[in-house]
Protein backbone atom coordinates (compact mmCIF):
# COMPACT_ATOMS: atom_id res chain seq x y z
CA UNK A 1 0.00 0.00 0.00
CA UNK A 2 1.22 3.50 -0.84
CA UNK A 3 2.15 5.74 2.09
CA UNK A 4 -1.22 6.65 3.56
CA UNK A 5 0.16 9.71 5.29
CA UNK A 6 0.90 11.47 2.01
CA UNK A 7 -2.81 11.51 1.07
CA UNK A 8 -4.91 14.64 1.10
CA UNK A 9 -7.95 14.67 3.38
CA UNK A 10 -10.21 14.30 0.34
CA UNK A 11 -8.24 11.36 -1.06
CA UNK A 12 -8.20 9.70 2.38
CA UNK A 13 -11.98 10.10 2.74
CA UNK A 14 -12.43 8.61 -0.74
CA UNK A 15 -10.12 5.70 0.14
CA UNK A 16 -12.04 5.06 3.36
CA UNK A 17 -15.34 5.17 1.50
CA UNK A 18 -14.13 2.70 -1.13
CA UNK A 19 -12.69 0.53 1.66
CA UNK A 20 -9.17 0.67 0.19
CA UNK A 21 -8.00 0.97 3.79
CA UNK A 22 -9.59 1.30 7.21
CA UNK A 23 -9.60 4.22 9.63
CA UNK A 24 -7.49 2.05 11.93
CA UNK A 25 -4.83 1.48 9.25
CA UNK A 26 -4.79 5.19 8.52
CA UNK A 27 -4.49 6.15 12.19
CA UNK A 28 -1.71 3.59 12.72
CA UNK A 29 0.23 4.98 9.77
CA UNK A 30 0.06 8.43 11.35
CA UNK A 31 0.92 7.19 14.83
CA UNK A 32 4.09 5.66 13.49
CA UNK A 33 4.95 8.72 11.36
CA UNK A 34 4.54 10.95 14.42
CA UNK A 35 6.68 8.64 16.53
CA UNK A 36 9.53 9.00 14.03
CA UNK A 37 9.22 12.71 13.28
CA UNK A 38 8.11 14.35 16.50
CA UNK A 39 11.42 14.15 18.39
CA UNK A 40 12.84 16.30 15.56
CA UNK A 41 9.93 18.61 14.77
CA UNK A 42 8.22 18.96 18.20
CA UNK A 43 4.90 19.57 16.43
CA UNK A 44 2.85 17.54 18.92
CA UNK A 45 2.98 18.38 22.62
CA UNK A 46 0.85 15.36 23.41
CA UNK A 47 0.48 12.24 21.30
CA UNK A 48 -2.68 10.22 21.96
CA UNK A 49 -2.05 6.99 20.01
CA UNK A 50 -4.32 4.80 22.15
CA UNK A 51 -7.17 7.26 21.84
CA UNK A 52 -6.52 7.58 18.08
CA UNK A 53 -6.72 3.83 17.53
CA UNK A 54 -9.79 3.45 19.74
CA UNK A 55 -11.53 6.30 17.89
CA UNK A 56 -10.49 4.82 14.53
CA UNK A 57 -11.92 1.40 15.47
CA UNK A 58 -15.17 3.04 16.54
CA UNK A 59 -15.18 4.89 13.22
CA UNK A 60 -14.70 1.69 11.24
CA UNK A 61 -17.59 0.16 13.19
CA UNK A 62 -19.83 3.15 12.40
CA UNK A 63 -18.94 2.90 8.73
CA UNK A 64 -19.72 -0.83 8.76
CA UNK A 65 -23.15 0.02 10.19
CA UNK A 66 -23.68 2.51 7.36
CA UNK A 67 -23.42 5.53 9.66
CA UNK A 68 -20.41 7.29 8.12
CA UNK A 69 -20.18 11.05 8.80
CA UNK A 70 -18.59 13.62 6.46
CA UNK A 71 -15.13 13.22 8.08
CA UNK A 72 -15.52 9.55 8.95
CA UNK A 73 -12.17 8.04 9.89
CA UNK A 74 -10.07 11.14 9.13
CA UNK A 75 -6.99 11.44 11.39
CA UNK A 76 -6.63 15.02 12.59
CA UNK A 77 -4.29 17.02 14.81
CA UNK A 78 -5.78 19.44 17.32
CA UNK A 79 -4.11 22.68 18.37
CA UNK A 80 -3.53 22.58 22.13
CA UNK A 81 -5.74 25.69 22.48
CA UNK A 82 -8.86 23.52 22.09
CA UNK A 83 -10.15 21.89 25.26
CA UNK A 84 -10.49 18.15 24.81
CA UNK A 85 -12.44 16.15 27.39
CA UNK A 86 -10.09 14.32 29.74
CA UNK A 87 -7.06 15.05 27.54
CA UNK A 88 -4.44 17.56 28.70
CA UNK A 89 -5.05 21.02 27.19
CA UNK A 90 -2.43 23.66 28.01
CA UNK A 91 -2.46 26.42 25.38
CA UNK A 92 1.31 25.95 25.37
CA UNK A 93 1.59 27.32 28.91
CA UNK A 94 3.21 26.06 32.10
CA UNK A 95 0.30 27.49 34.04
CA UNK A 96 -2.00 24.86 32.49
CA UNK A 97 0.35 21.88 32.49
CA UNK A 98 -1.60 18.86 33.69
CA UNK A 99 -4.99 20.53 33.07
CA UNK A 100 -7.52 17.98 31.83
CA UNK A 101 -10.73 19.77 30.92
CA UNK A 102 -13.92 18.02 32.01
CA UNK A 103 -15.57 19.17 28.76
CA UNK A 104 -15.02 19.33 25.00
CA UNK A 105 -14.72 22.46 22.86
CA UNK A 106 -17.63 22.88 20.45
CA UNK A 107 -15.36 22.86 17.39
CA UNK A 108 -13.70 19.55 18.30
CA UNK A 109 -17.06 18.08 19.36
CA UNK A 110 -18.34 18.83 15.85
CA UNK A 111 -15.31 17.07 14.31
CA UNK A 112 -15.90 13.94 16.41
CA UNK A 113 -19.63 14.10 15.59
CA UNK A 114 -18.62 14.00 11.91
CA UNK A 115 -16.43 10.94 12.45
CA UNK A 116 -12.91 12.37 12.79
CA UNK A 117 -10.13 10.77 14.85
CA UNK A 118 -7.73 12.67 17.15
CA UNK A 119 -4.00 11.95 16.83
CA UNK A 120 -2.89 14.35 19.56
CA UNK A 121 -2.47 17.96 20.63
CA UNK A 122 -0.37 20.36 18.62
CA UNK A 123 2.29 22.78 19.81
CA UNK A 124 1.68 26.52 19.74
CA UNK A 125 2.93 29.83 21.08
CA UNK A 126 1.89 30.27 24.71
CA UNK A 127 -1.78 31.35 24.78
CA UNK A 128 -1.40 31.93 21.01
CA UNK A 129 0.84 34.96 21.67
CA UNK A 130 3.64 34.75 19.15
CA UNK A 131 4.54 34.49 15.49
CA UNK A 132 7.29 31.88 15.60
CA UNK A 133 6.17 29.20 18.08
CA UNK A 134 9.11 30.16 20.28
CA UNK A 135 6.99 31.29 23.23
CA UNK A 136 5.66 27.75 23.80
CA UNK A 137 6.40 26.25 27.23
CA UNK A 138 7.15 23.03 25.32
CA UNK A 139 9.88 24.58 23.18
CA UNK A 140 9.63 25.72 19.57
CA UNK A 141 8.40 23.67 16.63
CA UNK A 142 10.95 23.22 13.86
CA UNK A 143 9.70 23.89 10.35
CA UNK A 144 9.91 20.74 8.18
CA UNK A 145 11.13 23.05 5.39
CA UNK A 146 14.78 24.07 5.17
CA UNK A 147 16.44 26.52 2.82
CA UNK A 148 18.25 24.82 -0.02
CA UNK A 149 21.75 23.77 1.00
CA UNK A 150 21.25 24.88 4.60
CA UNK A 151 20.79 22.96 7.81
CA UNK A 152 19.54 25.99 9.75
CA UNK A 153 16.39 25.26 11.77
CA UNK A 154 13.55 27.56 10.72
CA UNK A 155 10.38 28.64 12.46
CA UNK A 156 7.09 27.24 11.15
CA UNK A 157 5.52 30.56 12.15
CA UNK A 158 2.96 31.00 14.88
CA UNK A 159 1.00 30.79 16.84
CA UNK A 160 -0.37 27.66 15.09
CA UNK A 161 3.16 26.43 14.28
CA UNK A 162 2.50 22.88 15.42
CA UNK A 163 -0.63 22.65 13.26
CA UNK A 164 1.15 23.98 10.17
CA UNK A 165 4.28 21.85 10.64
CA UNK A 166 2.24 18.70 11.27
CA UNK A 167 0.22 19.19 8.09
CA UNK A 168 3.33 20.03 6.01
CA UNK A 169 5.25 17.02 7.35
CA UNK A 170 2.33 14.58 6.81
CA UNK A 171 1.80 14.05 10.53
CA UNK A 172 -1.98 14.46 10.18
CA UNK A 173 -4.43 14.83 7.30
CA UNK A 174 -5.36 18.32 8.48
CA UNK A 175 -5.40 20.27 11.72
CA UNK A 176 -7.42 22.73 13.73
CA UNK A 177 -5.82 26.09 14.39
CA UNK A 178 -6.79 29.54 15.62
CA UNK A 179 -6.13 33.06 14.43
CA UNK A 180 -6.18 36.25 16.52
CA UNK A 181 -3.84 38.37 14.37
CA UNK A 182 -2.58 35.96 11.72
CA UNK A 183 -1.90 32.76 13.67
CA UNK A 184 -3.46 30.48 11.04
CA UNK A 185 -2.42 32.28 7.87
CA UNK A 186 1.22 33.18 8.60
CA UNK A 187 2.21 29.60 9.63
CA UNK A 188 0.32 28.27 6.60
CA UNK A 189 2.40 30.58 4.38
CA UNK A 190 5.64 29.51 6.11
CA UNK A 191 4.93 25.79 5.56
CA UNK A 192 3.32 25.59 2.11
CA UNK A 193 -0.12 24.77 3.50
CA UNK A 194 -3.61 26.27 3.18
CA UNK A 195 -5.00 28.15 6.18
CA UNK A 196 -8.38 29.80 6.62
CA UNK A 197 -9.50 32.29 9.23
CA UNK A 198 -13.27 32.42 8.79
CA UNK A 199 -15.56 35.36 9.52
CA UNK A 200 -15.71 36.21 13.22
CA UNK A 201 -18.61 34.21 14.67
CA UNK A 202 -18.51 31.29 12.19
CA UNK A 203 -16.77 28.91 14.60
CA UNK A 204 -17.75 28.71 18.24
CA UNK A 205 -15.18 29.92 20.75
CA UNK A 206 -16.63 27.66 23.47
CA UNK A 207 -13.79 25.60 24.91
CA UNK A 208 -11.16 27.46 22.89
CA UNK A 209 -8.79 28.86 25.53
CA UNK A 210 -9.26 32.62 25.24
CA UNK A 211 -6.60 35.12 24.19
CA UNK A 212 -8.43 38.19 22.83
CA UNK A 213 -12.10 37.35 22.60
CA UNK A 214 -13.17 39.99 20.07
CA UNK A 215 -10.49 38.76 17.64
CA UNK A 216 -10.07 34.99 18.25
CA UNK A 217 -11.42 32.66 15.55
CA UNK A 218 -10.84 28.98 14.95
CA UNK A 219 -10.13 27.65 11.47
CA UNK A 220 -8.41 24.85 9.56
CA UNK A 221 -4.88 24.29 8.24
CA UNK A 222 -4.85 21.71 5.45
CA UNK A 223 -2.93 20.44 2.43
CA UNK A 224 -5.32 21.72 -0.23
CA UNK A 225 -8.05 24.33 -0.66
CA UNK A 226 -10.69 21.61 -0.88
CA UNK A 227 -9.41 19.95 2.32
CA UNK A 228 -9.60 23.28 4.14
CA UNK A 229 -13.17 23.73 2.88
CA UNK A 230 -14.18 20.25 4.07
CA UNK A 231 -12.74 20.83 7.52
CA UNK A 232 -14.18 24.34 7.92
CA UNK A 233 -17.64 23.04 7.00
CA UNK A 234 -17.50 20.63 9.93
CA UNK A 235 -15.97 23.17 12.36
CA UNK A 236 -18.54 25.92 11.70
CA UNK A 237 -22.05 26.41 12.98
CA UNK A 238 -24.12 28.19 15.59
CA UNK A 239 -23.49 27.44 19.24
CA UNK A 240 -25.66 28.86 22.02
CA UNK A 241 -22.66 28.46 24.37
CA UNK A 242 -20.82 31.30 22.58
CA UNK A 243 -22.81 34.54 22.62
CA UNK A 244 -20.90 35.86 19.58
CA UNK A 245 -21.54 32.72 17.52
CA UNK A 246 -23.60 33.64 14.46
CA UNK A 247 -26.99 31.99 14.13
CA UNK A 248 -26.77 31.25 10.42
CA UNK A 249 -26.60 28.22 8.16
CA UNK A 250 -23.19 26.80 7.27
CA UNK A 251 -22.86 26.27 3.52
CA UNK A 252 -20.98 23.29 2.14
CA UNK A 253 -17.76 25.24 1.58
CA UNK A 254 -16.27 22.52 -0.63
CA UNK A 255 -19.05 23.14 -3.19
CA UNK A 256 -17.39 26.51 -3.95
CA UNK A 257 -14.05 24.95 -4.90
CA UNK A 258 -13.88 24.57 -8.66
CA UNK A 259 -16.50 27.24 -9.40
CA UNK A 260 -15.76 29.81 -12.08
CA UNK A 261 -14.55 33.18 -10.85
CA UNK A 262 -15.19 34.94 -14.14
CA UNK A 263 -16.33 38.52 -13.69
CA UNK A 264 -15.33 38.78 -10.03
CA UNK A 265 -13.68 42.08 -9.13
CA UNK A 266 -10.43 41.71 -7.20
CA UNK A 267 -8.89 44.57 -5.26
CA UNK A 268 -5.16 45.05 -4.89
CA UNK A 269 -4.58 47.39 -1.94
CA UNK A 270 -1.88 50.02 -2.48
CA UNK A 271 -0.95 50.19 1.21
CA UNK A 272 0.12 46.53 1.30
CA UNK A 273 3.04 47.29 -1.01
CA UNK A 274 5.50 47.99 1.79
CA UNK A 275 8.85 49.71 1.41
CA UNK A 276 11.56 47.11 1.56
CA UNK A 277 9.24 44.23 0.73
CA UNK A 278 11.32 41.38 -0.72
CA UNK A 279 11.10 41.57 -4.52
CA UNK A 280 10.25 37.87 -4.68
CA UNK A 281 7.12 38.48 -2.62
CA UNK A 282 6.12 41.48 -4.74
CA UNK A 283 6.68 39.41 -7.89
CA UNK A 284 4.61 36.51 -6.57
CA UNK A 285 1.80 38.93 -5.74
CA UNK A 286 1.89 40.24 -9.33
CA UNK A 287 1.84 36.63 -10.51
CA UNK A 288 -1.27 35.98 -8.42
CA UNK A 289 -2.93 38.98 -10.06
CA UNK A 290 -2.10 37.51 -13.49
CA UNK A 291 -3.60 34.12 -12.54
CA UNK A 292 -6.86 35.75 -11.53
CA UNK A 293 -6.90 37.96 -14.62
CA UNK A 294 -6.45 34.87 -16.77
CA UNK A 295 -9.43 33.30 -14.99
CA UNK A 296 -11.59 36.24 -16.01
CA UNK A 297 -11.39 38.44 -12.92
CA UNK A 298 -11.33 42.18 -13.14
CA UNK A 299 -8.42 43.69 -11.18
CA UNK A 300 -8.74 47.06 -9.44
CA UNK A 301 -6.36 49.09 -7.32
CA UNK A 302 -7.96 49.97 -4.00
CA UNK A 303 -6.89 51.98 -1.00
CA UNK A 304 -7.09 50.90 2.63
CA UNK A 305 -5.59 54.07 4.11
CA UNK A 306 -5.50 53.01 7.78
CA UNK A 307 -3.58 49.77 7.19
CA UNK A 308 -0.40 50.92 8.91
CA UNK A 309 -2.31 51.62 12.12
CA UNK A 310 -3.74 48.12 12.37
CA UNK A 311 -0.81 46.54 14.23
CA UNK A 312 -0.40 49.32 16.80
CA UNK A 313 -4.18 49.25 17.44
CA UNK A 314 -4.02 45.46 17.75
CA UNK A 315 -1.22 45.72 20.31
CA UNK A 316 -3.52 47.71 22.56
CA UNK A 317 -6.74 45.79 22.00
CA UNK A 318 -5.33 42.25 22.13
CA UNK A 319 -3.23 42.76 25.30
CA UNK A 320 -6.14 44.57 26.98
CA UNK A 321 -8.47 41.66 26.30
CA UNK A 322 -5.74 39.18 27.20
CA UNK A 323 -5.02 40.80 30.57
CA UNK A 324 -8.69 40.43 31.39
CA UNK A 325 -9.05 36.88 30.02
CA UNK A 326 -5.89 35.61 31.68
CA UNK A 327 -6.89 36.93 35.11
CA UNK A 328 -8.64 33.58 35.60
CA UNK A 329 -5.25 31.89 36.10
CA UNK A 330 -4.99 32.51 39.81
CA UNK A 331 -3.78 29.12 41.01
CA UNK A 332 -6.96 28.38 42.93
CA UNK A 333 -9.22 26.17 40.82
CA UNK A 334 -6.95 24.56 38.24
CA UNK A 335 -3.45 24.74 36.88
CA UNK A 336 -0.27 25.71 38.65
CA UNK A 337 -0.19 27.08 42.20
CA UNK A 338 2.98 28.43 43.77
CA UNK A 339 2.40 28.96 47.49
CA UNK A 340 3.40 32.35 48.90
CA UNK A 341 3.20 34.06 52.27
CA UNK A 342 -0.26 35.50 51.61
CA UNK A 343 -3.09 35.17 49.13
CA UNK A 344 -1.74 38.11 47.12
CA UNK A 345 1.75 36.65 47.18
CA UNK A 346 0.41 33.26 46.04
CA UNK A 347 -1.31 34.90 43.07
CA UNK A 348 1.81 36.85 42.11
CA UNK A 349 4.21 33.92 42.43
CA UNK A 350 1.86 31.57 40.58
CA UNK A 351 1.54 33.94 37.63
CA UNK A 352 5.23 34.90 37.63
CA UNK A 353 6.22 31.26 37.38
CA UNK A 354 3.34 30.04 35.23
CA UNK A 355 3.50 32.64 32.44
CA UNK A 356 6.37 33.04 29.98
CA UNK A 357 8.06 36.35 29.08
CA UNK A 358 5.86 37.28 26.10
CA UNK A 359 2.61 36.53 27.94
CA UNK A 360 3.77 38.62 30.91
CA UNK A 361 4.75 41.44 28.58
CA UNK A 362 1.30 41.50 27.00
CA UNK A 363 -0.59 41.14 30.27
CA UNK A 364 1.43 44.07 31.67
CA UNK A 365 0.70 46.19 28.59
CA UNK A 366 -2.97 45.26 28.92
CA UNK A 367 -3.08 46.18 32.61
CA UNK A 368 -1.30 49.46 31.81
CA UNK A 369 -3.51 50.59 28.91
CA UNK A 370 -6.66 49.73 30.87
CA UNK A 371 -5.53 51.47 34.06
CA UNK A 372 -7.06 54.69 35.34
CA UNK A 373 -5.85 57.70 33.40
CA UNK A 374 -4.77 55.76 30.30
CA UNK A 375 -7.98 54.00 29.30
CA UNK A 376 -9.24 56.79 27.01
CA UNK A 377 -5.88 57.65 25.51
CA UNK A 378 -4.98 54.09 24.61
CA UNK A 379 -7.88 51.66 24.75
CA UNK A 380 -10.70 53.83 23.43
CA UNK A 381 -8.35 55.39 20.87
CA UNK A 382 -7.43 51.93 19.58
CA UNK A 383 -11.08 50.93 19.34
CA UNK A 384 -11.80 54.07 17.33
CA UNK A 385 -8.92 53.29 14.97
CA UNK A 386 -10.30 49.75 14.72
CA UNK A 387 -13.54 51.19 13.36
CA UNK A 388 -11.57 53.26 10.82
CA UNK A 389 -9.89 50.07 9.62
CA UNK A 390 -13.23 48.25 9.32
CA UNK A 391 -14.63 51.23 7.38
CA UNK A 392 -11.70 51.05 4.93
CA UNK A 393 -12.78 47.50 4.08
CA UNK A 394 -16.45 48.47 3.85
CA UNK A 395 -15.55 51.10 1.27
CA UNK A 396 -13.29 48.78 -0.71
CA UNK A 397 -15.96 46.09 -0.83
CA UNK A 398 -18.34 48.52 -2.54
CA UNK A 399 -16.03 48.28 -5.55
CA UNK A 400 -14.55 44.78 -5.35
CA UNK A 401 -15.59 41.26 -4.32
CA UNK A 402 -12.33 40.18 -2.70
CA UNK A 403 -8.80 41.41 -2.06
CA UNK A 404 -5.49 39.78 -2.95
CA UNK A 405 -2.37 40.44 -0.84
CA UNK A 406 0.77 38.64 0.30
CA UNK A 407 0.23 36.66 3.53
CA UNK A 408 3.47 37.55 5.30
CA UNK A 409 6.29 40.03 4.63
CA UNK A 410 8.96 37.28 4.51
CA UNK A 411 9.47 33.56 4.15
CA UNK A 412 10.15 31.42 7.24
CA UNK A 413 13.05 32.84 9.26
CA UNK A 414 15.57 31.15 11.53
CA UNK A 415 14.59 30.14 15.05
CA UNK A 416 16.11 32.64 17.45
CA UNK A 417 16.34 35.41 14.86
CA UNK A 418 13.74 37.82 16.20
CA UNK A 419 13.12 36.83 19.82
CA UNK A 420 15.04 39.80 21.22
CA UNK A 421 13.00 42.41 19.35
CA UNK A 422 9.26 42.19 20.10
CA UNK A 423 8.23 44.86 17.57
CA UNK A 424 10.05 43.18 14.66
CA UNK A 425 8.29 39.94 15.65
CA UNK A 426 4.92 41.73 15.72
CA UNK A 427 5.47 43.00 12.15
CA UNK A 428 5.02 39.43 10.85
CA UNK A 429 1.29 40.01 11.10
CA UNK A 430 1.19 43.28 9.14
CA UNK A 431 -0.90 41.80 6.29
CA UNK A 432 -3.10 39.50 8.36
CA UNK A 433 -4.10 41.49 11.45
CA UNK A 434 -6.42 43.86 9.59
CA UNK A 435 -9.00 41.12 8.91
CA UNK A 436 -9.10 40.14 12.58
CA UNK A 437 -9.83 43.74 13.56
CA UNK A 438 -12.61 43.93 10.94
CA UNK A 439 -13.91 40.39 11.56
CA UNK A 440 -13.48 39.39 7.91
CA UNK A 441 -12.50 36.01 6.43
CA UNK A 442 -8.95 35.50 5.15
CA UNK A 443 -7.36 32.56 3.38
CA UNK A 444 -3.67 31.87 2.76
CA UNK A 445 -2.56 29.47 0.05
CA UNK A 446 0.90 28.41 -1.07
CA UNK A 447 1.72 30.18 -4.32
CA UNK A 448 5.38 29.47 -4.97
CA UNK A 449 8.88 29.01 -3.61
CA UNK A 450 11.46 31.73 -3.06
CA UNK A 451 14.98 31.48 -4.47
CA UNK A 452 16.14 29.42 -1.50
CA UNK A 453 13.30 26.93 -1.95
CA UNK A 454 11.05 28.12 0.88
CA UNK A 455 7.28 28.42 0.41
CA UNK A 456 5.54 31.78 0.09
CA UNK A 457 1.83 32.42 0.51
CA UNK A 458 -0.77 34.73 -0.93
CA UNK A 459 -3.80 35.90 1.01
CA UNK A 460 -7.38 36.40 -0.14
CA UNK A 461 -9.65 38.59 1.99
CA UNK A 462 -13.42 38.51 1.58
CA UNK A 463 -16.59 40.19 2.73
CA UNK A 464 -18.05 39.00 6.01
CA UNK A 465 -19.59 35.52 5.56
CA UNK A 466 -18.33 35.26 1.99
CA UNK A 467 -15.81 32.47 2.54
CA UNK A 468 -17.42 30.77 -0.47
CA UNK A 469 -15.96 33.34 -2.88
CA UNK A 470 -12.54 32.91 -1.25
CA UNK A 471 -12.71 29.14 -1.76
CA UNK A 472 -13.62 29.62 -5.45
CA UNK A 473 -10.77 32.10 -6.00
CA UNK A 474 -8.30 29.97 -4.04
CA UNK A 475 -9.32 26.92 -6.08
CA UNK A 476 -8.48 28.75 -9.30
CA UNK A 477 -5.18 30.04 -7.92
CA UNK A 478 -4.23 26.61 -6.57
CA UNK A 479 -4.69 25.17 -10.07
CA UNK A 480 -2.65 27.93 -11.64
CA UNK A 481 0.14 27.82 -9.05
CA UNK A 482 0.35 24.02 -9.30
CA UNK A 483 2.24 24.06 -6.00
CA UNK A 484 3.42 20.49 -5.50
CA UNK A 485 6.63 21.02 -3.53
CA UNK A 486 7.01 19.13 -0.28
CA UNK A 487 9.71 19.53 2.35
CA UNK A 488 12.52 17.02 2.06
CA UNK A 489 12.40 14.51 4.86
CA UNK A 490 15.42 15.11 7.11
CA UNK A 491 13.75 13.71 10.21
Amino acid sequence: MADLTSLTLKAALDGLTSKSFSAEELAKAYVSAIETANPHLNAYVLETPDKAIAMARASDARRARGEAGPLEGASLGIKDLFCTDGVQSTAGSNILKGFRPPYESTVTAKLWRDGAVMLGKLNMDEFAMGSSNETSAFGPVTNPWKARGSNQALTPGGSSGGSAAAVAADLCLAATASDTGGSIRQPAAFTGTVGVKPTYGRCSRYGVIAFASSLDQAGPIAKTVEDAALLLTSMSGHDPKDSTSLDIETPDFSSFVGKSVKGLRIGVPDEYRLDGMPTEIAALWDQGVEWLKAAGCEIKRVSLPHTKYALPAYYIIAPAEASSNLSRYDGMRYGLRVEGGSLQDTYERTRAEGFGAEVKRRVLIGAYVLSAGYYDAYYLKAQRVRRRIAEDFDKAFLEVDALLTPTAPSAAFALGDRVSDPVSMYLNDVFTVTTNLAGLPGLSLPAGLDSSGLPLGLQLIGRALDEGTLFSLAGVMEQAAAFRAKPQRWW
Binding site: R100, Y200, Y309, Q383
Partner: protein, 95 residues
Protein backbone atom coordinates in the same frame (compact mmCIF):
# COMPACT_ATOMS: atom_id res chain seq x y z
CA UNK B 1 5.13 58.27 26.85
CA UNK B 2 8.11 56.51 28.38
CA UNK B 3 7.26 53.92 31.01
CA UNK B 4 9.42 54.03 34.15
CA UNK B 5 10.15 51.32 36.69
CA UNK B 6 7.46 52.68 38.99
CA UNK B 7 4.80 52.36 36.31
CA UNK B 8 5.84 48.76 35.65
CA UNK B 9 5.63 48.04 39.38
CA UNK B 10 2.08 49.43 39.39
CA UNK B 11 1.00 47.48 36.29
CA UNK B 12 2.56 44.30 37.69
CA UNK B 13 0.66 44.81 40.91
CA UNK B 14 -2.60 45.28 38.97
CA UNK B 15 -1.82 42.18 36.90
CA UNK B 16 -0.86 40.14 40.00
CA UNK B 17 2.49 39.19 38.50
CA UNK B 18 5.56 39.22 40.75
CA UNK B 19 8.41 41.14 39.12
CA UNK B 20 11.79 41.20 40.89
CA UNK B 21 13.17 44.69 41.61
CA UNK B 22 16.11 44.10 39.27
CA UNK B 23 13.79 43.21 36.38
CA UNK B 24 11.72 46.40 36.62
CA UNK B 25 14.09 48.68 34.72
CA UNK B 26 14.75 46.33 31.76
CA UNK B 27 11.01 45.67 31.48
CA UNK B 28 10.29 49.40 31.58
CA UNK B 29 12.67 49.91 28.69
CA UNK B 30 11.14 47.08 26.68
CA UNK B 31 7.59 48.27 27.26
CA UNK B 32 8.57 51.87 26.47
CA UNK B 33 9.86 50.69 23.10
CA UNK B 34 6.57 48.97 22.34
CA UNK B 35 4.46 51.91 23.54
CA UNK B 36 6.55 54.37 21.49
CA UNK B 37 5.74 52.32 18.38
CA UNK B 38 2.05 52.21 19.36
CA UNK B 39 1.87 55.97 19.74
CA UNK B 40 1.71 56.47 15.98
CA UNK B 41 -2.03 55.97 16.55
CA UNK B 42 -2.12 59.64 17.56
CA UNK B 43 -1.77 60.51 13.86
CA UNK B 44 -5.25 59.12 13.15
CA UNK B 45 -8.14 61.56 13.31
CA UNK B 46 -10.79 59.72 15.31
CA UNK B 47 -12.99 62.67 16.26
CA UNK B 48 -16.61 61.55 16.38
CA UNK B 49 -15.72 57.91 15.68
CA UNK B 50 -17.60 55.45 17.86
CA UNK B 51 -15.25 52.90 19.52
CA UNK B 52 -15.63 49.47 17.93
CA UNK B 53 -16.03 46.83 20.60
CA UNK B 54 -17.15 43.93 18.44
CA UNK B 55 -17.28 43.01 14.79
CA UNK B 56 -20.57 41.20 15.25
CA UNK B 57 -23.24 43.81 14.65
CA UNK B 58 -26.14 41.88 16.18
CA UNK B 59 -27.31 42.31 19.74
CA UNK B 60 -26.17 39.76 22.27
CA UNK B 61 -28.78 36.99 22.43
CA UNK B 62 -30.95 36.47 25.50
CA UNK B 63 -31.85 33.09 26.94
CA UNK B 64 -33.99 31.73 29.75
CA UNK B 65 -32.24 32.03 33.08
CA UNK B 66 -32.12 28.31 33.79
CA UNK B 67 -29.39 25.86 34.70
CA UNK B 68 -27.98 24.26 31.54
CA UNK B 69 -25.00 22.41 32.94
CA UNK B 70 -23.73 21.19 36.26
CA UNK B 71 -23.50 18.29 38.73
CA UNK B 72 -19.81 17.85 37.90
CA UNK B 73 -18.29 18.72 41.25
CA UNK B 74 -15.78 15.91 41.33
CA UNK B 75 -14.80 16.32 37.67
CA UNK B 76 -14.10 20.01 38.29
CA UNK B 77 -12.25 19.49 41.55
CA UNK B 78 -10.05 16.91 39.85
CA UNK B 79 -8.06 19.83 38.36
CA UNK B 80 -7.74 21.78 41.61
CA UNK B 81 -4.21 22.30 42.97
CA UNK B 82 -5.70 21.49 46.39
CA UNK B 83 -9.12 20.08 47.26
CA UNK B 84 -10.61 18.48 50.33
CA UNK B 85 -13.97 16.81 50.90
CA UNK B 86 -15.65 18.43 47.94
CA UNK B 87 -14.14 21.91 48.39
CA UNK B 88 -11.35 23.95 46.86
CA UNK B 89 -8.65 24.60 49.45
CA UNK B 90 -7.29 28.15 49.16
CA UNK B 91 -4.86 30.26 51.19
CA UNK B 92 -6.29 32.06 54.21
CA UNK B 93 -8.15 35.13 52.91
CA UNK B 94 -9.44 36.74 56.13
CA UNK B 95 -6.99 37.17 59.01
Amino acid sequence: MAIDADTVRKAARLARIRVEEAALQPLAQELSGIMAWIEQLDEVDTDGVEPMTSCVACQLPMREDVVTDGNKRDAILANAPKADRGFFVVPKVVE
